[in-house]
């Protein structure tokens, strides 16, 4: 019957069709694709589609295209009805007991519309559930009956004095516990469970113990079972069993304990109290893999968040055993559970050194960093990160560092975050590590990480800190400073100074920029990327914060924002500007930003470090006349003069330098007074230039005001200009004498003299040979020379 040929039917005819049970369309209970319905069924798309076994949804019964107006004879209708009736039972059976269907049986389906299931289909699922329930009931009934009658008996027998009886009873109970209904009966009888526990602990017979333990093990798969065991004091008994020599007993005991720890409230405390930790650590010496996996998992559950447990594990020699496992085995689950225990322990400050030592600074962990299992790698990394601040003293970390640098390129964010943190800690204050990381391409990797991390501060902060460590205070520092620029790190770093970066990250970036500015080649790029204005902005903001709060609280604690002290930001930014100001164009920019008033204000800060960086940057800015003038206009002279007396040498020297530079164009007497002031303040009696302890005596002997000296000038309080050189040289090598030139002490009378010419070019400053030089007593002798 080809539907395409059928004329359009009116509704009445359609209803008649329905009544005649002509169901068209095909979709069996099974997928229509497999059902080959008899030719009475056709699709609108033609027979060929049906033959290829198309999905039933393709075959749409479409009333609109003309239905199936072709009438059937009554005979045909009866025929069809009979067919459907016969197969009805098959359909029902198929719905309820699909497992009983014969292979290859084709049941004509009655489903008209694929979206509308037939009644049988709708009932198929509920009927299956019903079937299962009935089956269960039948089973249960058998077992439950048995159990209800037998349990009290068995309980009595378990409490018997005769060991043999107890043993037999235990075996019975064990058998019973293997089946579900009886298991429930056992669980629900607290007396039975107590009897089991008692029998287990007090017997000498291994068989009894084994059966009882086995029973408890079976019970432990159910919540009520766990509760029953817990309530009847099963935990201490099970912990005692951990010392057993029988493998199966051990296995039952540990597995039961494991289930208890996982699911039963209060078990952790009970296990700890019963001394379970020590026993479990001892068990780590065994070599059954699954057993070890369960034991380590128990340890992890017990130690998590509990400091005391961690200490007990440490005291029992846990770290060494755990590290041994990491080194010896390759079973992934075991490695994973062990790494979790190590991770939990690595948080404890007492455990840290033990783990570091046992694991040779993370070698045993790092050997798994290349493993396929992500969870294992992740745990190892977390553990390493926690350990990394305790492991800074070793020199043998090349392999680990190389591996870590490689891991920076991983696509897993957690791994990258961890690795950056580890690298940051390992490079902190450790020259050897710094050099190693530089040599294995660490700089490039870190810069790339920062580029890819975008605004994820979890990653950028430790990465920037690591770069900061790598760019200073080791022999490859200069190379590192250049490398950051060569790998296009500068733009992104300057960008990180802007929002949404928070203060911890900003502090790290400012420190890094300061280090980068130590390399002259970085000066221009940093300026071009706008680092200087932004740093000044940050400085102003931080400074305002300190001012605002300081007036309020006036406390020593400092102002914290995001956990960072604003004073540190002030110090950091000014420090960075200090180094940046080495370059003339940078100085021009800084001057243009009108920072000098702020720097002068900072000179009044009580914090020595801030004084130092402020005076340092002013010193640089004073290199140009403009700068010096601006500084002076801000009234810097007074605070600088104060700072000359600072006990911090750096502060005093920078202050002196600025004052000298500012005094360039001043009249002579001003400079004289200034140098006197500097002399007197810079010279400290206890300091000895060039290690000459006798100097002090000499100077006292020859030029102190008490003694009549050639200097009559009352202005000189101290011992003359030589002392400036003296005091500044203290502590530095003699070559520093050159630097004195930069200080521009006093004036200079430029002229050349020629020894054999007494020409007018000779400029005798205030010197009149005919006059005595000031009021002094000694006679001027005739001129002579001495051979030495």
């Amino acid at each position: 019957m080809d539907m395409r040929d059928m004329p359009q039917m009116d509704s009445k005819q359609q209803t008649m069709m329905w009544q005649q049970n002509q169901y068209m369309g095909d979709s069996g209970i099974q997928s229509g694709a497999t059902t080959q319905a008899p030719p009475s069924v056709s699709s609108k798309h033609g027979v060929d589609e049906m033959d290829t076994g198309e999905d039933a949804s393709q075959m749409m019964f479409d009333f609109d295209t003309g239905g199936f107006g072709q009438g059937f004879t009554q005979e045909q209708v009866d025929d069809m009805n009979q067919q459907l009736n016969q197969t009805r039972s098959q359909r029902v059976r198929a719905a309820m007991f699909p497992e009983t269907l014969e292979e290859g049986l084709q049941i004509p389906s009655t489903q008209l519309d694929p979206t509308q299931p037939t009644a049988v289909q709708r009932l198929s699922e509920p009927s299956q559930m019903l079937k299962h329930a009935v089956v269960n009931l039948i089973n249960y009934q058998d077992d439950a009956d048995l159990a209800t009658r037998a349990i009290p008996e068995l309980t009595k027998l378990l409490n018997d004095e005769d060991q043999v009886v107890v043993s037999q009873a235990a075996m019975m109970v064990h058998q019973l516990s293997k089946k579900e209904a009886s298991r429930h009966a056992i669980m629900n009888s607290p007396q039975m469970v107590s009897a089991l526990v008692r029998a287990m602990s007090s017997t000498n017979d291994m068989e009894t113990t084994r059966c009882a333990a086995g029973t408890l093990h079976n019970l432990s798969h159910h919540r009520q079972g766990l509760l029953a065991i817990f309530k009847s004091g099963g935990i201490p008994a099970l912990v005692k069993l951990l010392s057993s020599s029988m493998e199966s007993v051990l296995f039952y005991a540990i597995t039961t304990l494991h289930n208890l720890l996982l699911h039963q409230e209060g078990s952790k405390m009970a296990v700890r109290l019963a001394g379970g930790l020590q026993k479990m650590v001892l068990l780590l010496q065994r070599n059954n893999l699954k057993f070890l996996a369960i034991t380590t998992d128990c340890l992890q559950i017990l130690a998590y968040g509990n400091q005391e447990s961690k200490l007990i594990i440490l005291a029992s020699g846990g770290p060494a055993e755990l590290v041994r496992i990491m080194r010896t085995y390759t079973y992934e689950k075991l490695l994973w559970t062990t790494s979790r225990v190590l991770k939990v322990l690595s948080v404890c400050p007492s455990n840290k050194p033990a783990i570091v030592e046992a694991g040779e600074n993370g070698v045993s962990l790092s050997m798994h960093l290349g493993h396929q299992s992500q969870r294992l790698v992740q745990n190892c990394l977390w553990t390493l990160r926690n350990l990394s601040d305790a492991a800074t003293k070793s020199d043998t970390m090349e392999g680990l560092l190389q591996m870590l640098v490689q891991l920076l390129t991983s696509s897993d964010i957690n791994i990258v975050t961890c690795t950056a943190g580890i690298l940051s800690n390992l490079t902190c204050n450790n020259q050897h590590n710094k050099v190693t990381v530089c040599q294995v391409g660490g700089i490039e990797a870190l810069v790339r990480t920062i580029l890819q991390a975008g605004d994820r501060e979890d990653i950028t902060e430790p990465a920037v800190c690591a770069l900061r460590h790598l760019t200073s205070r080791h022999q490859e520092a200069e190379m590192a400073q250049n490398a950051v620029r060569l790998h296009y790190g500068l733009p992104v770093l300057v960008k990180l100074l802007h929002p949404p970066s928070r203060w911890p990250l900003i502090k790290a970036v400012v420190g890094l920029i300061r280090n980068l500015a130590l390399c002259p080649a970085n000066h221009a790029p940093l300026r071009e990327h706008g680092a200087i204005p932004r740093i000044v902005q940050l400085l102003i903001k931080a400074h305002q914060d300190t001012q605002r709060r300081a007036t309020g609280t006036g406390s020593q604690a400092g102002v914290y924002v995001d956990g960072v002290r604003m004073e540190e930001i002030v110090e950091g930014t000014v420090g960075a500007l200090h180094i940046l100001a080495r370059e003339p164009h940078n100085r021009a920019v800084i001057r243009g930003l009108n920072c000098i008033p702020l720097f002068v204000q900072l000179l009044y800060s009580p914090v020595e470090n801030i004084q130092r960086v402020a005076s340092g940057v002013l010193c640089e800015l004073a290199s140009e006349k403009e700068g010096a003038e601006m500084i002076e206009q801000e009234g810097a002279t007074a605070p600088l003069t104060e700072l000359l007396h600072s006990r911090n040498e750096g502060v005093a020297t920078y202050a002196a330098a600025v004052l000298f530079r500012m005094s360039e164009d001043k009249p002579q007497d001003y400079k004289k007074r200034l140098s006197v002031e500097l002399t007197s303040s810079l010279f400290r009696g206890e300091q000895v230039p060039w290690g000459e302890p006798a100097l002090l005596d000499d100077i006292e002997g020859s030029s102190l005001p008490q003694e009549p000296s050639f200097r009559g000038d009352a202005v000189y309080q101290g011992s003359g200009p030589g002392s400036i050189q003296g005091s500044i040289h203290q502590g530095y090598d003699p070559q520093q004498v050159d630097s004195m030139q930069g200080l521009e002490i006093g004036s200079h009378q430029g002229s050349n003299y020629m020894p054999d010419l007494g020409t007018s070019e000779l400029h005798f400053e205030g010197m009149d040979p005919s006059q005595p030089q000031g009021p002094h007593d000694s006679q001027m002798a005739a001129w002579f020379d001495t051979d030495l």
Binding site: W382, N386, V737, S739, P755
Partner: protein
């Protein structure tokens, strides 16, 4: 630099010279000893001047009361160190030689076997007001200080930040 008044602050370029004295030998090759038995050392030069001397009376016509080297022995320690005649001694071992008496100068020089000296020599460029690119000496100066200051690497991060054991 010429004609510097003793006691005035002075600023000029100076040459640092280290002079190692040699033990003094007499004609027979014997070591000459001082009164107290210690070997005598010689520097190999002669000095003249001092604040108690009148430079107008100096044959060399020195312009001020500084201490000058009036003679350098060939092959002597002073010669080997690079000292030249008419060098003005500014400092010896930290002592300021622009304000010493002659006797004191001699004493300072005799005191130690090694002399760290600062010399002013005719012909040296006079110190100009600092141009912009005269930065380097000062930076070296700074560098010294930055070496002594607390470094930027902080202590390792406190464990609380990075731990995931909990």
């Amino acid at each position: 630099m010429a004609g510097h008044t003793a006691g005035d602050p002075l600023e000029c370029y100076g040459i640092p010279i280290v002079l190692q004295k040699e033990p003094d030998h007499d004609e027979n090759g014997q070591q000459v000893l001082e009164e107290d038995g210690k070997p005598r050392f010689r520097c190999g030069f002669r000095i003249g001047g001092g604040i108690d001397q009148d430079p107008a009376k100096s044959p060399q016509g020195y312009p001020d009361k500084g201490v000058y080297i009036t003679f350098v022995y060939e092959g002597g320690p002073a010669f080997l160190a690079g000292l030249q005649v008419h060098d003005k001694i500014l400092q010896v071992n930290g002592h300021d030689f622009t304000v010493v008496t002659h006797k004191k100068a001699v004493e300072y020089i005799k005191r130690k076997p090694v002399l760290n000296m600062l010399i002013y020599r005719k012909g040296m460029p006079s110190l100009q007001p600092k141009p912009m690119d005269a930065g380097p000496p000062f930076h070296q100066f700074q560098q010294q200080y930055s070496g002594n200051q607390p470094q930027y690497s902080p202590a390792p991060q406190s464990p609380a930040q990075f731990q995931r054991g909990y």
